[in-house]
Symmetry: C2
Subunit: 283 residues, 2 copies
Amino acid sequence: MARHPFDEAVALTRVAATAQEHGREAPAHFDGQPHPAYANMVGPFGGVTAAQMLQSVLQHPQLLGEPVALTVNFAAAVADAPFRIEARPARTNRSTQHWTMTLLQTDAQGVDATVITATAVTAVRRDTWSATDSPMPTVPRPMDVARVLPAKRVRWIERYDMRPVIGPIPEHWDGAESDSLTQLWLRDDPPRPLDFLSLAAMADVFFPRVWRRRAVMTPVGTVSMTVYFHAGRAELATTGQGHLLGQARSQSFFNGFFDQSAELWDEAGHLLATTHQIVYYKE
Amino acid sequence: MARHPFDEAVALTRVAATAQEHGREAPAHFDGQPHPAYANMVGPFGGVTAAQMLQSVLQHPQLLGEPVALTVNFAAAVADAPFRIEARPARTNRSTQHWTMTLLQTDAQGVDATVITATAVTAVRRDTWSATDSPMPTVPRPMDVARVLPAKRVRWIERYDMRPVIGPIPEHWDGAESDSLTQLWLRDDPPRPLDFLSLAAMADVFFPRVWRRRAVMTPVGTVSMTVYFHAGRAELATTGQGHLLGQARSQSFFNGFFDQSAELWDEAGHLLATTHQIVYYKE
């Protein structure tokens, strides 16, 4: 059976470190490249880039525990060319570990330029009292909602089965203002068992909130995104290939940057991740 | 007139770099130390640590623009001892700039250990269409709400005038579960004109959501926090020494980590910042 395109996209190859740094934990170096199946308008879909940054942690030989938090800063557009990710365990405690990651690409001048910076927290979780204060909204089940196949301007959209419940992408770009809320069912296409990498990528599937809010297609670009994981490997395994309910909305649009907060529940109503990002918009 | 304790706390001294790194932008180095007026149960109040990390960016000679996003990872407890912050402009674009920062302290073995990692995005903002999707809740005005002076277990609490509207810290630690929502008016004590540094600190003033949710005082510690700034220097100047309305709640408590999302509005109802954090809890 052919490998799932997402697995191809997040495959990294560990390489020997080329530079020695002193006095701190040395980073591990990984080679990777954007995958054509997840191409965006310019460069790759940011969700897959976020997953690649997390992958460098998950494949690091010194990894402790499972992901708790991930922040990815999109410092420049990722070029359709090979990249290197450096992942460093900045601090390892008894049950938590803090990571810094950098994605580099060789620029036109032959210099390794920083394209993405990121941090992550991993932890060995223990069973504790647990609860949710964000119950899943009451919505129709995924198979009772029509899948939307948007105009195929970008490749990565085809890699997700998306079923908007409310707040679809505007049909008419007429400047009619509304709220910024979208709810949709989503899963990989073809289906793929959920893991931390695909969950991180799905945190970035929502079309830009400013498009929903204004019905004006202004240019946008995420500059920083954070994902908090509220599930362990066992909970993700239970979700399997089922749909996730995603909900996203903004709180502020101010002079060129808006925020987005989103939640991802599985079909059983477990809140698996909450995620936040700040996005540049042009006008 | 004596300097405000917050200004003393965020004062950093730039020092000559001690190590040379090659191939990337060199970091600037700053010396600082925890301030006794902002002491927490163990080490300093995390909000002031976040402000110190941001200060290293604001004082950096290569700074471009104003803060848009800040993520601070609390990798270890900050000791009551001097520290060094390294701040590096990882990528400078035409109107945005990406930063990585590290706070180091010399450990018992004489080694410089990473205590805090952080990233920030700064930008030269342009006037654009702006709007908010998170209007300020309708609440009594600050002077109509009683200031609460909690038991003085920790010093930093005294540095904030806090007036809980709903969801105060539990009076009875009887395990009676409720929701995780708190709304309160707050400002510096003594009053101080709002700036990006004090706004970043105020993003961390909320007592742990798990205490509110459970009425059980379990040990906690923030592991990562993110602040998105939705105001420029002019908007902060307009706020001046007025109170901010803070609102905080959690979405998930799962096996040792809970999240917190919060908003900060000024008295005129402008949403100045949204902020998110993930917090360790013991049981």
